[in-house]
Symmetry: C2
C-alpha cells in the first residue's frame, strides 16, 4: 500500500515526530514551496515540560496537548499521518510505515524523541516513567489510588499503610525534582483537606539521585537551593544513592529496603531507534551522531534532531536535550533542506543559542539559570510560569492553563484529580 | 477486615453510589447529627448528562467530573470509601465490600445507577455505551481513529474507507439523539478543517430507533423537531428499525447490512444488581421495586433511589430516570432516614416534581419540554446550556466548561480531540 508520487512538481519533505523539533521544522518549511508530510504515532503534540503536572493532577491532558491537525491546519501543503516508522530505505529515499504504507521523500527529518531506559529488565512495569499522556494518567492513577488505599487501610495493616504512603522518585534531574516536589504538595494538600486519616507526617517522598547533587546541568548553588526547597516540602533527598532493585515490595537503595507502592522513574532515557532505521552510528544513549549541519554523516538530505540526536554545535558544545534546543534544531534543519532542495543560501553549521535553564519545585519555588542571572524561589517560579504559559502551543490552551493555575494556586483545589483507566481493583 | 464500630453515639447511614441521588442524600444528611459513609467505585462524581460531549471531544473528562472527596470535604461527619459492594446482610445490617472490608449501617441508601444492557451476547465490545469517563474516552478514541484511518486510506480500499466514515448510533432516546448530533458535527467540522481528504458527503451518521419516533418521553411535536434538526445535520434517522446483528463488519438493520467501524450503544440499560444484594423484587430492567417512601418493601431503613429503583410516586406516576428525579429521591430518602433515626417528622410519600425534560441536538439546537412550554431550536439550546452549566457541580467546573463552550462555539476548535489509551494499532 504505497502512497505513490507520480509527477511531483514540488519536493517532498517527510518529518517523523511532531514534538518541539518536528513542529518547528514543519512551521519553517511551510514558508517555502515544498510539500510536507508530518508523521506521528500520536494524534497530538504534547507540551512535555508540563507533563509532570498531569501526573500529579494539577492539569488535565487536554490542557497540555493539542491535536497536530489543528496546529497545522492553516498550512495547505502539510499532510498529517497518524502512523509510525518501521524502516527507512536510504537508497530508494522511502520510509516504510507500521500501517503498511510507504512514502517517498526528497528530504527526511527524524525527530522521534526518547523513551525511558531501565537498568533492570522488569523495572518498566513497576516504575513507570512519564513521556506520554497515557504514562502520566497511569502515574496519576497510581498516586491517587495509593492515597485512597492508605485512607481505607488505617485501622490495621500499618505496614501496608506506610507502603501506600511512601513515594520513591528515581532520578534527580529536572523531571525527578519536579515530580518529587509535586507529589509532596499533592500528598500534603490531600492530607490537610480531603483524607482525614492521613496526616502530612505519614507521607514520605524520597528522591534518589545517583550523583552528588540534584540538577547536575545547573550551577551548584541552584542545586543546593533546589535541595533545600524540596526538603522544605518534606522530601527526603538521597544524594549519591543508587536504586539497585525495584520489585513488588518497593525498592532497595544501596543496602536499604524501602517498601513503597509508588515508584516513579525519572532517570535514564534512551533515544528512539532512529539509528537502526538509518543504519547510522549512535552514542551510548542510542542518539544518532549527526554532523554540525544536523545531517547524518554521508548524506545531505537526512536530518536527525532533538532528543534523538547527539549534536556538537558550531561552538563546540554538546546541545542539551531540552525543548528550546529541539526547536532551534528543527528550524535549522528546515532551512538547510530548503537551501539544498531549492538552491537557497545554506545556513551552515548549527549554533545553539541558550536562553537559560529552568526547573520548578512545587507551586511557589523554582530555579532559573540564565547564565548572566541565577534565581531561585518565588521570583524564579513566576518567571518559570510565564515562560511555560507563553510557550504552550495554542492560544486556547494558554488561557485554560492560566485559569487552571490561578485557580489551583488560590484554592489548592486539584480538579484534575481523577482516577481513570481500567485498573481500579482494590 | 471489618471496620468496627465499637461505641457509636451517632447513627451511621451508608450511601452506596455518589451519583446525583447519592450525593443529594449525603448533602441533606450532613445537616443532621448522623455519620455518613459514602461508597463509590470511582473516586469522582460524574455529570453524566454531558458525558456525550467527552465522547465527541467537546469537553475534557475533568470538565465534567469532580473528586468525591473534594465535593464533601466540608462535611466533617462524611467518610468517603473507594470501594464497591459485594453483598448486603440485612439481618446484621452490614455491607460487605469488594476490598474485603465490611461496614455496619443503621440505614442504607443504594444509588448505584444502571449499566448498558445488550440483546446480543458479544455486542458490548463492538458497540460501547457511554456511562463512565473510561467509556467516553474509549468512544472518543474510536471515533477519532476512524477519521484518521479514513484520511490515510484514501487512495485504495474505498469500501474500507466508507466503513471508517460510517457511524451507527443505536437508540433514539436523549443519549442517542445527542450522540448522533454531536458525531455529525464533529465529523463535519473535521471534514471542513483538518482532514483535507474527507468531505462532509463522505460521512454517514445513522441513528437507529426501534420506536416510531425519537425521544419517546417527549411530546410528539418535539420528536419531530429533533428528527428535522438531526436530518439538517446530515444524520439518517431510521425509525421503527431494529439492529439485529452487531459484528466485526458493522450492523444489520432489519435485512440491510451496513458496514461501519464505529457503533455506539444508546439503547437499553439495566439497573446495577442491587436487587440481588438485597434479595428484593425487581422489574424487567432489574430495578428494585420500592414503596412510595422509597424503602424496600418489608424494611424501613433500606432505600433504593435513582436509576436503580422503580418508583411510582405519590401522584401515581412512574418517576423518570433523570438527574433531577434522582436528586429529589436522594433528598427524600435522607429526610425519611432522619425522621426514623432521630424521631423527626416523617416526610411521607415521595412526590416527583418535574421541572421539564431537555435534550440537545448539536451546538445550536435543543428540545425543551417544560409542560407549560415547548421549545425547540436555538432558544431551547440556550436554555439547555444555562441549565447544564448551572447544575454542574463545583464552581470551578462551571467556569471552565463555560469558557470551553464559548471557545468551541466561537471557533469550532475541539481542543479535547485527543486519542489516548493503549489501542493505537493501525
Amino acid at each position: 500500500m504505497a502512497i505513490p508520487a507520480p509527477v511531483r512538481a514540488r519536493r517532498r519533505v517527510v518529518i517523523v515526530g511532531a514534538g518541539f523539533g518536528g513542529l518547528s521544522a514543519a512551521k519553517e518549511l511551510a514558508r517555502h514551496d515544498v510539500d510536507i508530510v508530518l508523521i506521528d504515532k500520536q494524534n497530538h503534540h504534547l507540551f512535555q515540560p508540563l507533563l509532570y503536572q498531569v501526573a500529579t493532577a494539577g492539569l488535565s491532558p487536554a490542557d497540555i496537548a493539542q491535536p497536530i491537525r489543528s496546529i497545522v491546519r492553516k498550512q495547505a501543503r502539510t499532510q498529517v499521518l497518524l502512523d509510525s516508522v518501521d524502516a527507512v530505505d536510504r537508497a530508494a529515499q522511502r520510509v516504510s510505515l507500521a500501517s503498511g504504507a510507504s512514502i517517498d521523500y526528497d528530504a527526511l527529518i527524524i525527530a522521534t524523541g526518547a523513551r525511558h531506559s531501565y537498568f533492570g529488565a522488569s523495572w518498566a512495569d513497576r516504575a513507570p516513567g512519564i513521556k506520554t499522556i497515557d504514562d502520566a494518567v497511569s502515574v496519576r492513577r497510581t498516586i491517587l489510588l495509593a492515597l485512597e488505599r492508605a485512607e481505607t487501610n488505617r485501622q490495621e495493616h500499618l505496614a501496608e499503610r506506610a507502603e501506600y504512603l511512601t513515594f520513591v522518585v528515581v532520578g534527580g534531574g529536572p523531571t525527578g525534582v519536579e515530580m518529587a516536589g509535586a507529589i509532596a504538595e499533592l500528598a500534603r494538600s490531600a492530607a490537610e483537606t480531603e483524607f482525614p486519616h492521613i496526616t502530612r507526617h505519614c507521607v514520605r517522598v524520597i528522591l534518589v539521585q545517583s550523583e552528588q547533587r540534584l540538577l547536575p546541568s545547573f550551577p551548584a548553588s541552584l542545586s543546593e537551593s533546589a535541595k533545600k526547597a524540596l526538603e522544605g516540602l518534606g522530601v527526603q533527598v538521597r544524594l549519591g544513592s543508587r536504586v539497585t532493585v525495584i520489585d513488588d515490595e518497593g525498592v532497595i537503595i544501596g543496602n536499604q529496603r524501602i517498601a513503597a507502592s509508588t515508584v516513579i522513574w525519572a532517570a535514564g532515557v534512551r533515544a528512539s531507534p532512529a539509528a537502526e532505521w538509518l543504519n547510522a552510528a549512535a552514542d551510548r544513549a542510542g542518539r544518532v551522531i549527526v554532523g554540525s549541519d544536523l545531517a547524518v554523516p554521508g548524506t545531505d538530505n537526512i536530518f536527525v534532531i532533538g532528543d534523538t540526536a547527539a549534536v556538537i554545535d558550531a561552538g563546540g558544545n554538546a546541545v542539551p536535550g531540552i525543548a528550546p534546543a529541539a526547536k532551534q534544531q528543527g528550524r535549522h534543519a528546515a532551512r538547510t533542506i530548503v537551501a539544498r532542495l531549492l538552491a537557497r543560501r545554506d545556513p551552515g553549521r548549527f549554533r545553539y543559542q541558550s536562553f537559560g535553564n529552568l526547573a520548578t519545585i512545587g507551586r511557589k519555588c523554582a530555579v532559573v539559570d540564565l547564565g548572566w542571572l541565577r534565581l531561585s524561589g518565588m521570583t524564579a517560579w513566576l518567571l518559570w510560569s510565564a515562560a511555560h504559559i507563553y510557550f504552550l502551543i495554542g492560544f486556547r490552551n494558554r488561557l485554560i492553563v492560566c485559569a487552571n493555575w490561578l485557580w489551583n494556586y488560590l484554592t489548592f483545589d486539584r480538579g484534575a484529580r481523577l482516577i481513570t483507566g481500567i485498573d481500579r481493583t482494590m
